[in-house]
């Protein structure tokens, strides 16, 4: 007999507990990135020369990655829709596609960093590059974390179990996506 | 009243302003504090449990009671306003306003010593006759000084308690402030920002003299005057002192 705490079955606020939790996680994450990007923007405004450094970033690659992430988010939405209809295997497949999107994103990122580092633009070059690698790096670690969870969720969803998790991981993935939408103009476009 | 009874001297033009502000705040927060405490203790004694005397049922929405609590906002806000106005006024005088200077000194902090650059007899800083000293600042009474504060390594804080003056030194920046000594004497300069193991070992002295004495001191110790003077023991001594200071300064 598996007795889960009755506490977990209640919903006094009218919002499912898991969704509530993921919103709280997202809001604390927003503050983390807010602090980082706020610091970056203050520096950027104070140092005109950063525009020259930023000129070395590859806007094409950044734009491609934006596209990749947005597409993967679309798959996350489709997965949610499938889960709503109770179609676990289909949802799982969409989640795999989302994960694939994350993987492509990371590969492009790896290529990009590799190029930049081999051309002497490393995390210690100057504060612009420090911010560049730190911000993108923290974001990438969120992508990786999201992918891992997604694989777990997909595995259970495939058996038509715990389908409500699909929505939760989707929410998180959208958040990771939105962070990138902020990073992209700040690091790549503003020159 | 309170601060100057605890400190050895009130030695700058604005020191007494801070002392006054401190006293005013003491009174303004003291009044509500004393009232709150007397109510607090009287309630504890008055409403000790007695047989047959049940507690009142008060929800905290009855106007007859809430008016006391909410009414208290008015004086507190008022007191806040008074404190803010006075504090900002003092702050403006000391930190925002920069009156015309009679003289300028450079204060350089490093782990764990102070270097002071005095303008020398010509009263212009960054000239050949500047006098550099370590852990000893010489200033003249009734002269308005600007100080240019720098740090060579970590944060330090240039604190002169008798002036009631404090300012962080930040590596990579030169921060300008001012003071005007009003009484002569010799007092502490302290480092008031943790700066590593030797933070407790960063004392310096400020020597406030009359303008005449100070000028004489400057005349005597100016490197030009020393070089011009004929050879003597004291000269070679102060020279080697000077050299070691420069070495330190170059570190």
């Amino acid at each position: 007999m598996s007795t889960r705490p009755i506490a977990t079955t209640r919903s006094a606020a009218g919002i499912p507990t898991a969704r509530l939790a993921v919103w709280w996680i997202i809001s604390s994450e927003i503050v983390i990135f807010g602090g980082l990007l706020g610091a970056y923007i203050m520096h950027r405004l104070a140092h005109g020369i950063w525009a020259d450094y930023a000129a070395n970033t590859n806007t094409m690659i950044g734009a491609t990655n934006t596209f990749v992430l947005l597409t993967s988010s679309l798959f996350a939405v489709l997965a949610h829709q499938a889960a709503e209809k109770g179609d676990g295997p289909k949802a799982a497949n969409f989640l795999y596609l989302t994960t694939l999107g994350g993987l492509i994103f990371l590969c492009i990122k790896a290529y990009e960093w590799n190029y930049e580092i081999s051309h002497g633009m490393t995390i210690t070059s100057n504060t612009f590059w420090s911010f560049y690698y730190t911000a993108a790096g923290i974001h990438a670690s969120h992508v990786i974390a999201g992918m891992i969870i997604m694989l777990f969720v997909a595995r259970t969803a495939k058996k038509n179990l715990e389908l409500q998790r699909v929505e939760i991981i989707g929410l998180y993935w959208h958040f990771v996506d939105v962070v990138w939408i902020f990073l992209f103009p700040l690091l790549y476009i503003a020159k | 009243m309170i601060l100057d009874s605890l400190l050895p001297a009130t030695a700058s033009t604005y020191a007494s302003q801070i002392d006054q502000l401190f006293d005013v705040i003491t009174v303004l927060v003291g009044i509500p504090f004393v009232i709150a405490c007397s109510l607090f203790f009287s309630f504890i004694f008055r409403f000790k449990k007695k047989e047959g005397k049940p507690a009142l049922y008060i929800t905290g929405n009855e106007h007859q009671y809430t008016k006391w609590i909410h009414g208290a906002h008015v004086p507190i806000l008022l007191f806040d306003v008074v404190i803010v106005v006075m504090a900002v006024n003092v702050w403006y005088t000391i930190k925002q306003d920069l009156p015309e200077a009679n003289s300028t000194v450079r204060v350089i902090a490093q782990q764990w010593a102070w270097t002071f650059v005095h303008p020398g007899p010509d009263n212009v800083i960054d000239t050949a006759d500047d006098i550099t000293t370590i852990n000893e600042l010489h200033v003249a009474k009734d002269t308005l000084y600007h100080f240019k504060l720098e740090s060579k390594d970590v944060l330090h804080n240039f604190s002169v308690p008798v002036f009631r003056l404090k300012q962080d030194a930040i590596p990579g920046r030169v921060i300008t402030g001012w003071f005007e000594p009003t009484v002569t004497g010799e007092h502490d300069i302290q480092c008031a920002e943790i700066c590593g193991i030797g933070h407790g070992l960063m004392p310096a002295r400020i020597i406030i003299e009359s303008p005449l004495q100070n000028a004489a001191w400057a005349q005597e110790n100016s490197p030009l005057a020393i070089a011009a003077a004929s050879e003597s023991e004291s000269e070679s001594e102060s020279k080697s002192e000077q050299e070691s200071e420069q070495e330190l300064a170059a570190r």
Binding site: G35 | L3, W91, I197, G200
Partner: protein, 572 residues
Amino acid sequence: MAELIPVEHADGHEGHAEHHEMSFTAKYIFPLDHKMIGMQYMFTGMFMAVIGGFFAYAFRMQLAFPGMSVPGWGEVTPAAYNSLVTNHGTIMIFWVAMPVLIAAFGNYLIPLMIGADDMVFPKINRLSYQIFLLSSFVILSAFFVEGGAFGGAWTAYPPLSTKAEYNLTGLGSTIWITAVFLEFVAFLLGGINFITTAMNSRAPGMKMWDVPMIVWMIVIASILFMLSVGPLLAGGIMMIFDQNLGTAFFDPDRGGDPILWQHLFWFFGHPEVYVVLLPAVGIVAEVITTFSRKKLFGYRTVLYTAIGTGVLSFTVWAHHQFIAGIDPRMANVFTVTTLLISVPIAEMMFVYIATLYGGSITLTTPMLWALSFIFEFLIGGITGIFLGASGNDIYMHDTYFVLAHFHYTFYPIAIIGTYAGFTYWFPKMFGRMMDDRLGKLHFWLTIIPFNLIFLPLFVLGAAGQHRRIYNFENYPELSLPWMQDLRQIATISLCVMLGAQLIFFYNVIKSWTSGPIAPKNPWQANTLEWTAASPPPHGNWPEGLPTVYRGPYEYSHPDRKGSDFWPQDEPA
């Protein structure tokens, strides 16, 4: 990864499979039960408090008797002094106040007080404690590595903290920031639990305004924490990179800015003081209502002042940096916001005092603690006003006046508030009554020395004594005989106080093993935890979870004949 878990265990699927005959490890080492996790936090926090108190003893002995070989520590060198102070501050705030007030009481009380059988994410809860425990080992490990523990103050201002050639502690500074980082992650995880549990798992019938104040306060504190800690987490990563990868975020020589860290730190640091304040005032609300048999005067007022304080707390951080080289015009803004905070907090304190009015007060041990909290905190609060006044802070900054100010706030919160809560809920937690006479003895022998420690420090601070200086003999104006006398009074009082804690520990052990068996509701209080057995079994109410019919503070209600309390779960 922090984000993983909620999703993974979102529905606590395997939740309480181990219902029967739990093994020793399952019950005590890796528990899922919220009460056991709360206890783990409590005792870890208590252990850390002893360490933090011992550090205070070691460096205070050095201040009173410079150069002496301190019994139990040895000679306090300048380097040792700095790391003792730094780790005393860090441990007391992050490893005592936070875990005990938020995590221990939060975990123990929230499900019991809202009538649930557990937290909504038991496994995150356990993970949170494990990360916290790990972080405790990490912070203490610094004392055993080459170069010793970090000594750059609990504020860790760069460049001192980022460059080993400046702080001379090698690994120490990285260990420090890593430990703090881990601790924050643990509390983010814990916070999710507190917030979601309190929002979603309330007993049937328990409306927003029926939630006991302590639960509200822990929830608000967790929200404050979550919304303020982010920038510091980012800053922590930047600091670790500066230390170990050679970046220059905070290095002015290479385009960085040391002040940036100060903003990131205090943007968190100031809300943090209210993060620990709120749970303590929550405890006080429970205790004073129970022992004065009074309804809390203006339940919603307290709540609104707490929320108001929380919101304002995000706008005042630079009052720690008045003279740190920020734009001097900014100081004016921060003076205004800082002084404004006095309004909601004054209101909150007045409400508590008003609650006593017309009461029927019994001075039990928990009540004494709670009352002394109000009094001592008022002193801490009003001295904050001296510092918030920018002009005055030019002189006061980093003196012992600041130090005494925040010990008069932190001590009531972390020690007095904790003792109030601990003695109040002791019968519930351990099923035995505490010895009241020993409790009172402990109270007086703690509270009198406490004032004798820190009142002299106010005077010394006003006389210009600076913080973090290991020996005042180097400063002629700070080594006057009367000053040294005050230092010795403070230190001797500290020794008395530390000795008095032995009474507490004796009392705990004695009462735990042989105290009178506690009834379900020894204080005749209203809130739900008192309707469970003492101590509550796994699942809290095996006979069925309670339903709520009224608010938590209906004492001496005129409609209720024959008794002066009215439990929340009693049908009308």
